[in-house]
Amino acid sequence: MGVINLEDLKPDMLLDDDVLARNGRVLLRGGNWLTEKHLGIFKAWGVTEASVHRITRDEAAASAAEEIDPTILKATEERMRSRFIHSGTEHPLLAELLRVCIFRNIQKLES
């Protein structure tokens, strides 16, 4: 099991734990299979992550990265990393910030 980001959740994944809204209300119990409709509800209620069966955060991130042209990915990553020289990216917050910024920059290039 692993906790992964909302954007990496897909229909037919098996939920391990209950998903709670920000106000603590249970939106879906663990043991359910996710559907498109659930994902919409999670987003509307401000859910940012969920724990699902047999996939980890790193695997989810890696599979999202697979969809990007490796040359563009590498160039963008290098450019972004140069801004993190003082902060480093060892801390989980900075590692995720770097990852999100790389994706955001690539999306901007595409649009």
């Binding site: 920000r22 940012t48 801004r83 020289i85 003082h86 902060s87």
Partner: protein, 249 residues
């Protein structure tokens, strides 16, 4: 409650800016809000007062000489940081998220004072950062003996703004120093980092500042908030930046 609506309504350009803001992606209200008194009822008195303060401060500094600081990118970064603080506060379910917006917005305001009063030293600090890749607030301390966060704190104390805002600004680079408002200072610290990484313009700093790990622990959120947060920041920034910077070149 009627008083604040009356005071704001008497200032036409302020009312117009606020009404545009409450009808923007900042709030996503389903129907249009056409009067300040309606806005007060829906958003709240304190909240509207804070937003009025935010738009007025930017207009106040409109004429500052821009030799060392480019005023527009400066405020663009500040607005991004304010928006980020506001979103983090909403994830935290804090009361009055607009006061977080104001604190984030004003976090670098000390630069405007520091760089217009000490031009030569400020130049030296900027050069040091550009040439040696040092963080700007560290160069400021090396050259001038104090940094923009301290100057900002002093300014806001002179202005008699709420202590929470003053402390947030003073401690945004070292949030652990804030004894009374650790959550507020931590939120501004993290939001500044995020706004810098997103490159939503810059107040002079081009690098992501050093993370005070205690700040992220204080906020206690999961890193999974970053993806939706940056999307919301982009959206709110795009929808409000021109409105705040009306008339600023």
């Amino acid at each position: 409650m009627r008083d604040i609506a009356q005071i704001i309504s008497a200032d036409q350009s302020l009312s117009a800016r606020l009404l545009r803001l409450v009808n923007s992606a900042f709030f996503w209200f389903p129907s249009r809000i056409d009067t300040i008194s309606h806005a007060v009822t829906i958003i709240g008195t304190k909240q509207l007062r804070d937003l009025a303060l935010a738009t007025s401060v930017i207009q106040m500094f409109k004429g500052i000489p821009g030799e060392l600081i480019r005023v527009k990118p400066f405020w663009q970064h500040c607005i991004a940081c304010g928006i980020g603080s506001r979103i983090l506060a909403s994830f935290q379910k804090m009361p009055n998220i607009e006061s977080f917006f104001v604190s984030g917005l004003l976090h670098d305001i000390g630069q405007l004072i520091l760089y217009s009063d000490n031009t030569e030293q400020a130049k030296e600090a900027l050069t040091l950062s550009a040439e040696e890749g040092k963080l700007l607030y560290i160069s400021e301390r090396n050259v001038m003996g104090l940094d923009h966060a301290e100057v900002g704190g002093l300014l806001l104390s002179e202005w008699r703004l709420p202590k929470s805002i003053e402390e947030t600004v003073r401690f945004h680079h070292r949030p652990a120093g804030s004894k009374r408002f650790p959550m507020e200072a931590s939120i501004a610290h993290i939001s500044d980092l995020i706004a810098n990484a997103m490159q939503l313009e810059t107040s002079g700093e081009r690098l992501v500042p050093i993370l005070a790990k205690s700040a992220w622990d204080e906020i206690g959120l999961s890193t999974s908030v970053l993806a939706p947060m940056t999307q919301q920041m982009d959206q709110q920034y795009k929808d409000s930046v021109d409105l705040f910077l009306e008339g600023i070149k």
